[in-house]
């Protein structure tokens, strides 16, 4: 792995967190490149040469017809196999907020091989959009490479979404939930109920641990200057930075698990 892993950061069609996501990746030691979804469609081979991919937050296609719905369709119909190959190629992929919704709509989380989706990100229990800070428990047993070995057991990040409630297929909730828990596919849970999400699920990973989808915004808390309240003098860096630094450490081979999984 080169000194600076290259990361594609998707933009366009109403995505709106590409700049801070790229900023966060750069801070953590990656070489991010913001790429418009139309440019990616025009040159899909770009996916092959990149080391990782981020689908940032935003309101792709204005959230019409369900958040993430149309961007997922666009990726499926215009990039198709090339996109799925990248993900199956076991390169790190992160989908934040709207990006998480896209990954779920694409069927890449939590089970990329499943025939039928078992869950969705439904409208919040409150019925509306909410921006607030949340506490998140990090599951040390999770297979997720983005959060594995994170220095802190709980972290704080902001959420900013209207459709972030994990809802399972009706009647099969507990069965699916328990399976996810056992397989370590729930890397982050809210410390309190914030949107009605089943089991307070805040993030999901796939069985390879390479793909992370999460509703909270790690890119919004890289520096102490954007902490929830001003005057926080004793913070060295934001909790969101830990997640990006973690994956960089693994990609740069400081951890053996990455080599093992990708090798």
């Amino acid at each position: 792995m080169s000194a600076k892993p290259s990361f594609l950061v998707l933009s366009g069609d109403g995505i709106n967190c590409e700049r801070e996501t790229a900023f966060a990746l750069e801070y953590a030691g990656a070489a991010p490149k913001i790429i418009h979804v139309n440019d990616l469609i025009a040159a899909p081979e770009t996916l092959k040469s990149a080391d990782g991919l981020a689908i940032p937050g935003g309101f792709s296609f204005g959230d019409e017809l369900g958040s993430g719905q149309i961007l997922a369709l666009k990726i499926r119909h215009k990039l198709g196999d090339k996109f799925f190959k990248m993900v199956e190629g076991k390169k790190p992929v992160i989908g934040i907020c709207n990006g998480f919704q896209v990954l779920v709509k694409l069927g890449l989380l939590p089970y990329p091989d499943a025939e039928e989706r078992i869950l969705a990100l439904a409208p919040n229990e409150s019925g509306g959009f909410i921006n607030r800070w949340v506490g998140l428990n990090v599951d040390p047993q999770s297979v997720c490479l983005w959060t594995q070995g994170l220095e802190k057991p709980t972290i704080e990040l902001p959420i900013r979404h209207g459709e972030g409630r994990i809802a399972f297929n009706h009647g099969e909730e507990e069965k699916h939930y328990q399976a996810l828990v056992q397989q370590g596919l729930i890397p982050l849970t809210y410390t309190e109920d914030v949107n009605g999400s089943y089991g307070r699920i805040a993030a999901l990973t796939d069985p390879s641990g390479m793909v992370l989808g999460l509703m909270p915004h790690p890119e919004a808390f890289i520096f102490k200057e954007t902490y929830k309240t001003p005057g926080a003098r004793d913070i060295a860096k934001g909790d969101g930075a830990l997640i990006f630094e973690n994956i960089m450490r693994i990609m740069k081979g400081e951890e053996s698990s990455y080599e093992r999984r990708t090798g």
């Binding site: 933009s11 366009g12 069609d13 109403g14 709106n16 967190c17 700049r19 801070e20 900023f23 418009h36 139309n38 440019d39 937050g57 935003g58 309101f59 296609f61 204005g62 019409e64 017809l65 369900g66 719905q69 149309i70 369709l73 666009k74 119909h77 709509k105 039928e116 989706r117 078992i118 869950l119 969705a120 439904a122 409208p123 229990e125 409150s126 019925g127 509306g128 959009f129 909410i130 921006n131 607030r132 800070w133 902001p158 900013r160 809802a167 399972f168 297929n169 009706h170 915004h217 890119e219 919004a220 808390f221 890289i222 520096f223 200057e225 954007t226 929830k228 309240t229 001003p230 005057g231």
Partner: protein, 1000 residues
Amino acid sequence: MGAAVRIEVTAQIADRRLEKWTREAREYLDVPLTAIEEAKVYRIAPAASARNLSASVKTVFGDPVLQAVSFAGAEQALKGPEPSFVAEISYRPGVTDNPARSAEEALALTGCPSEVASGSLYFLFGQVNEVGAKKVARELLANELIQKIEVWPYKEFVKLKRFDGVKMPKAVFAHPPKAEEISLDLDDAGLEKLSKERVLALTLPELKHIQGYYRRPDVIAERAKHGLPAQPTDVEVEVFAQTWSEHCKHKIFAAKIDYTGPEGKALEIDSLYKTYIKRATKEIEKERGLDWLISVFSDNAGIVRFDDQVDLCIKVETHNSPSALDPYGGALTGILGVNRDILGCGLGARPIANTDVFCFAPPSMPAREEEDYMPVGPKPPRRILEGVHKGVEDGGNKSGIPTVNGAFFFDRDYAGKPLVFVGTVGVMPPKLPNSRDSSEKKLSVGDRIMMVGGAIGADGIHGATFSSLELDENAPATAVQIGDPLTQKRMADFLLEARDMGLYAAITDNGAGGLSSSVGEMAQMSGGAALDLAKCPVKYPGLSPWELMVSESQERMTVAVHPSKKTDFLELAKRRGVAATDIGAFDDSGFLTVLYQDKLVGRLDLGFLHNSLPQMQLKAEWKEPQPRAAWSATTQLTGKRKPAPAKLQDILFALLSSPNITSKEKWVRAYDHEVQASTHVKPFTGAASDGPSDAGVIWLKPHGGQSGNGVAVSCGMAPRMSLCDPYRMAQFAVDEAVRNAVVAGGDPDKICLLDNFCWPDPVVSAKNPNGAYKLGQLVRTSQGLYDICKAYGAPLVSGKDSMKNDFRGKDKRGVDINVSCLPTLMVTAMAQVPVAATVGSSFRAAGDLIYLVGLKGALGLAGSEFATLFDAPDDRGPAINPERNIALYRKLHQSLKMGHIRSAHDVSEGGLLVAVAESMIGGRLGASLYIADAHDVLFNEAPGRIIVSVSPDKKAAFEQGFKGQECHLIGHVGGDEKLSLAGQGDILLSDIISAWKKGF
């Protein structure tokens, strides 16, 4: 095109909005609904090339977990008892339909290009009759100005053959799309009739000025030479009306005013704008030797330099009239519109923060006994609040711009027209990659005129002229429109990319007046322009040339592109999925030449159009305050106020839970205030993240600025003070805005201001007999503004005025009424912030000392929230001493930078005790105050005052800093969760929190 189909999509998961509407139907409308179920309706007309329609539809509209698509009727998915009524809501033809536009893109992606129209079905459950069902549909579910409502009893609805012979909405125009000649050979009455019928909003002298122009022999000869009729075309008349509208031209602020003040002395004022606003800035710039004013009053927004690496621009607009008619669409287009001002500022800036301030009638209005007295036409206050709020939410969130600051102010006099102030801050690099100054627009003869973004429709025709009139019951429906944040976001991304690639020479937004104003203004730079309206992309055919010229259809910018860059510009637009069309070229003919399908339909002399309008002559008088106008018997204030409760805590709780003070957290958290990851001070902070902040602070490093640098955005206003003295209203407003910025860390010596005036009609006429008094209030406000800006050394960098905020019409009983807004000056401040100096508004630790910076004592209750709720002594209200205040703010800023202060919070609505209570809530800490418990000490809202807390070990250093200044130790922060006042019982923090969190 294949036969159109209809589908109905039902959610698998309960929707909380429907529960809320059900509750509101019972509570506010007296309709005994038990439940509402919704199904989305899509009508889809597939193109000839479309394949596999039903498979596509399932993929596009369905979701295996969330939503089911039905081709046979959503009622089949209903559970439980049968609904009683069904309401179907669909957009009127030509209205922006965002779900449909997105659905069309999605269907095209799946190989099934189609035309789509969206709507909703609502199944109403419970013992509802037809009148009740219609009431719910009209007042809760839809807005008839933009939507069609159909209501059926359920039993009849299910028999409808609604899936057969599905029809698509079509915009149909009665007139042929060509230019008409309009004769101005009319007498005075005829001219005035013409103005009213065409919604021109031109005055008789203005109409005669145009009439005179067309009678000039040289004009007649020149027109004959070009084959134009001697009389103006409709295109020309409409361009005059837009360009000369109060909204665009600010004629009242430019007028010559004969003013008599309280001293009885006459004063002739040659333009309030030049005399009090522009002059203040010019003098401050010179006296203080400011080097950070980059562009003021000349562009779409003011530009300042608070950072070596990025420039900041800021603009605040109002969108009152559209918000009165369609609160959601009005606020949404307001936000998107002011964002475009920023995109069109200089060579284009990136919006980084929104601020919004609402002045509404109280959400609880009308009480039962007030219902008959409400104006007919404007939406009920609660609907306006909810609609505007949702519009701001979608406008900011979907554009990826954080809403970091704002305010709600409630007063009954906003029941005729709500005031919706929307503002945006932008950043731009001082120099672009091609080393051009980003603040400078420069275009050349021959540059192409490009219209970029959305297409033109009939929506938004006459916005500029309509908003220059008072509201009555007959507002034109086309003045209302819905915004499309996705189209604008794509356009914004594209334009900033094109800017950095140096693909265009100049840019401006299409706002009020549409192409008429954007091309008309840019043409002044080269000395002329010619465009062919038939080249403009349209939403549907049939629009007349004049409609294309003045339509305010949203999401459009006008850009000047050098011919050598044209191909690259259009190619990039195509790659970004943005419409860009070459519609003409700039020239130096001295004329704005308008063609339609190559035929000349208008030719306007730029000199006459922009520089010939005679100055208005007005009279103004302000001797003493007049009592507030009562617009109905039951809304009179006098005699209605009750005596204040005996117990101090009951007064405090009443204040804390009043709409002007209570927590707005529920509303504000629906706005994304952190996107772009640079919001340093957020709307709510403190131990439980629910203490109110005084300003929003954006950290500039993520935007390319210096790492320790930030910018505060705050606001201030004191509309009720206009009832005491408009001069002080202006000063209080500026003081509050500045103080809010300073407590949030803003440097009082690096602060700029924006003035937004919203006034009731200040021109005397038969229907407006006390116009001179209202203009007198405007004069005094301007004088107060000038004086305090000079005293604070704070330049005004941008501003806007909105002059006819009146409703003249009938109340529900059919009685003529006139509801005028309170004269309102809303001031926005933007200040440079060293981010290491910010502390927040919440108390930090027990034992810290509490100081009141500023005057202590009985300072006057007039104009306060206390005096609105309770009977209060009839005093003249607090005084203000700007010189003393600014000196205190400079000291405070030094103390913040030196780390002497642990929290700082301004004393505003509710007064001293409310400010302390708010700092307690934020810190989840108690307080003991050693201060007199007189009402006029605790609850006056005198300006210039700040509550700070200081750690005991910093006591000496802090006090040294304020030596000789008004700074009073008034108590200490307590560990026990209560507020203790000498001589009064303790008030529990938990009770304070619940009173403040009552909300609305």
